[in-house]
């Protein structure tokens, strides 16, 4: 198998191009995605695709989020496989009805006669962009039966799971982190120049499968996106203190690979969930509750969570990095949990 190193943006571009090539029902729809002389979507992911597939299949829209998602739902119901783009995940609140009331429920309401195969791309994450361009809203959507929610954090997973999402017959929301596309211009916000080995050959990464990123016996850390890398860095730095963290990237939040998570927690006896979404009602709460219910007899300490504090996101770096989990804050939490023992 031949591989090369590419970033998440390029990986997703390849996934979309391959699936558009493979299935003529796949198309892109959104704002600023195919304008000649434009920027190929908010993060340049679609550059080069209009030249290859034409503007019939890369449809630029007005600034109309409800129409973008409504159109995608309708087209999906008629057998197309739309990939709508929302530029920033914060804009998803403009079209909650189309996602929550329509996309997620049409199949059930029809008694299973219909399906809604759409793949919605939503970039998340702080990047000195503040309260309305930096949120991580994935937790809202794991509360909606009928949806699938995935959070790829590296190029290999991103390409494979994007392809799986496009082929999936249910609506899938793909949350990607802005600071994992590449660091250029985003150094102060903590942007990472992240690449991964990605095969030249076609492959899929399944929805619903977690990945173990690091082995350890002291505790299990469960995290996604930028926070995942901060957890990995924290785990590395704490080796010298004799703490060995196992780190799991759940990849899919809905469905959740509970088997992998429970196996790890049953082994380590301790769990810490870390995410950039706010604390209260974040997906970490759900995972914590599941672990408490299913791994209780093996737990040696209460399940811990670390998340953005419950405030809107500030812009200035000193405040922003106070609010979201930093490596230092994660290390401190790990140390605390390491010391905890149930009597």
């Amino acid at each position: 198998m031949t591989t090369r190193r590419i970033g998440i943006g390029e990986a997703i571009r390849e996934a979309i191009a391959e699936e558009m090539q493979r299935d003529e029902n796949v198309f892109l729809i959104g704002e600023d995605i195919g304008i000649p002389g434009g920027f190929g979507g908010a993060f340049g992911v679609y550059l080069g695709l209009p030249e290859k597939f034409g503007h019939e299949r890369i449809i630029d829209t007005p600034i109309s989020e409800k129409a973008i998602i409504g159109t995608s739902v309708g087209a999906a119901l008629m057998g197309m496989r739309p990939i709508p783009d929302l530029q920033y995940s914060d804009f998803i609140f403009e079209c909650m009805d189309e996602i929550v009331n329509q996309a997620a429920k049409m199949r059930y309401m029809s008694g299973g006669k219909l399906k809604v195969p759409l793949t919605l791309r939503c970039p998340v994450g702080t990047a000195n962009r503040g309260a309305q361009h930096g949120q991580s809203p994935e937790s809202y959507f794991i509360h909606v039966p009928g949806l699938k929610v995935v959070c790829p954090s590296d190029a290999y997973v991103a390409k494979g799971i994007m392809k799986s999402a496009i082929r999936d017959d249910d609506p899938v929301i793909v949350f990607e982190h802005k600071l994992l596309y590449g660091s250029k211009g985003r150094e102060s916000a903590g942007g990472m120049d992240l690449t991964a080995e990605v095969p030249e050959e076609e492959y899929l990464f399944p929805i619903g499968k977690a990945l173990k990123k690091r082995d350890g016996n002291s505790m299990t850390i469960i995290s996604t996106h930028l926070t995942l890398y901060r957890c990995l860095a924290a785990a590395e730095e704490l080796k010298i203190e004799g703490i060995e963290c196992e780190v799991i990237d759940p990849v899919s939040l809905l469905p959740l690979d509970t088997k992998t998570i429970y196996e790890s927690v049953n082994k380590t006896g301790k769990a810490l969930i870390a995410h950039e979404d706010t604390f209260t009602g974040g997906w970490g709460a759900e995972v914590a509750a599941l672990i408490s219910q299913n791994c209780f007899s093996k737990l040696k300490a209460p399940v811990q969570r670390i998340a953005a504090y419950d405030v809107p996101l500030p812009v200035t770096p000193v405040l922003e990095q106070t609010v979201v989990p930093s490596i230092e804050r994660i290390k401190e939490k790990i140390r605390q949990l390491h010391k905890m023992e149930l009597k």
């Binding site: 409800k66 309708g74 087209a75 119901l77 008629m78 329509q102 049409m106 199949r107 039966p145």
Partner: protein, 338 residues
């Protein structure tokens, strides 16, 4: 004031009788549903269509069988007019397994993809949002199909109306927007919410064509849609047809309609789409009282059969609650949830 007598436009007798029969079918179906609802046989709530039948029948008759419609929280008439059988519609209202949505949709989500109707969308203007995609799929696949989107005048103050019509106009999508202006959004009169006199006046801002029709006249509605359909299927761009109509029933159960005057109701009763059509057919010697009685008798039998079918059908199995949320196998509750 609307001219009461209906110009039959020399249409085929067979077509005219079919339009007339369907208008009565919708009315009698709704009247029966009302009785059953009051008897406590049907779960939930109902929003009834009496008075507006000419719109659904005119539109759906003018469409091709392969065309699609979207509907609203008031969908019974649209469903029957598009071809959902009375049996499967009635069974759905009863919450039975044999219903068109296996009992999972109920009154407000009545519909059946098998006859070209999405489950009705009970969020106001929700269908306006989705129909753009139905039209886009037809355009991309070059199928020459058309989508008709039913909604009330109340939906035109939703954001989805603006976004959806604008996108459909730019993309020249094969969509017929059918605004059933029955004057009231629940209890709120149109003129309390909107200063322009007609919904149709609004759509010039999208560069879209529009037409106002007498929504109590099934022939006029039929002809307007018939005239528009083929050009729209071939890419001329969407149209909005505003049908001026009136619901004889309240908004939903328990609506005593105290926000309307008797004079207003009496006026609209003079435009009852059944009586007007019957008078015009008799004037033109296309029907007599005997033929009319036979039509009604046949419809009554169809309805009685549907009720018996629904009553005798089984309820869904308890396990059925857990299927159909996903196409893939992930709907069943985990042990944790139990």
């Amino acid at each position: 004031m609307v001219e009461r007598s209906i110009n039959l436009n020399n249409l085929d007798k067979e077509l005219l009788i079919s339009l007339f029969t369907d208008v009565i079918r919708l009315r009698k179906f709704e009247d029966k549903v009302y009785q059953l609802f009051l008897k406590g046989e049907l779960p939930g709530t109902i929003h009834q269509y009496q008075g507006q039948e000419a719109v659904a029948v005119g539109v759906c008759t003018a469409l091709n069988k392969t065309d699609w419609i979207t509907s609203t929280h008031r969908p019974h008439g649209h469903a029957i007019a598009k071809g959902v059988s009375m049996r499967s519609a009635m069974a759905e209202l009863y919450g039975k397994e044999t219903g068109c949505c296996k009992g999972k949709g109920g009154s407000m989500h009545l519909g059946d993809p098998e006859v070209g109707m999405l489950p009705a969308i009970a969020i106001v203007a929700g269908g306006v949002s989705i129909v753009t995609g139905v039209g886009l799929a037809f355009k991309m696949k070059n199928t020459k199909q058309v989508a008709a989107c039913f909604f009330g005048e109340g939906a035109t103050n939703e954001g989805a109306f603006h976004e959806g019509l604008n996108l459909a106009a730019i993309q020249k999508l094969p969509i017929i927007y059918v605004c059933e202006n029955n004057i009231y959004g629940a209890s709120t009169a149109y003129n309390k919410t909107t200063l322009v006199e007609n919904v149709a006046d609004r759509v010039s801002s999208y560069g879209m064509a529009s037409k106002i029709v007498d929504g109590m006249n099934v022939v006029e509605v039929y002809l307007a849609v018939k005239e528009a359909r083929d050009a729209i299927a071939n890419g001329s761009g969407p149209i909005l047809i505003e049908a001026k109509t009136y619901r004889f029933a309240g908004h939903s159960r328990g609506d005593a309609k105290k926000y309307r005057t008797k004079e207003e109701e009496d006026y609209w009763r003079t435009l009852d789409p059944i009586d007007r059509m019957k008078d015009s057919l008799i004037e033109n010697s296309l029907i007599d009282n005997e033929a009319f009685a036979l039509i009604v008798k046949n419809i009554q039998e169809e309805i009685d059969d549907a009720v018996v079918f629904a009553q005798q059908s089984p309820f869904p199995k308890v396990e059925d609650a857990f299927i159909d949320a996903y196409a893939s196998d992930m709907s069943s509750p985990t042990e944790v949830q139990k």
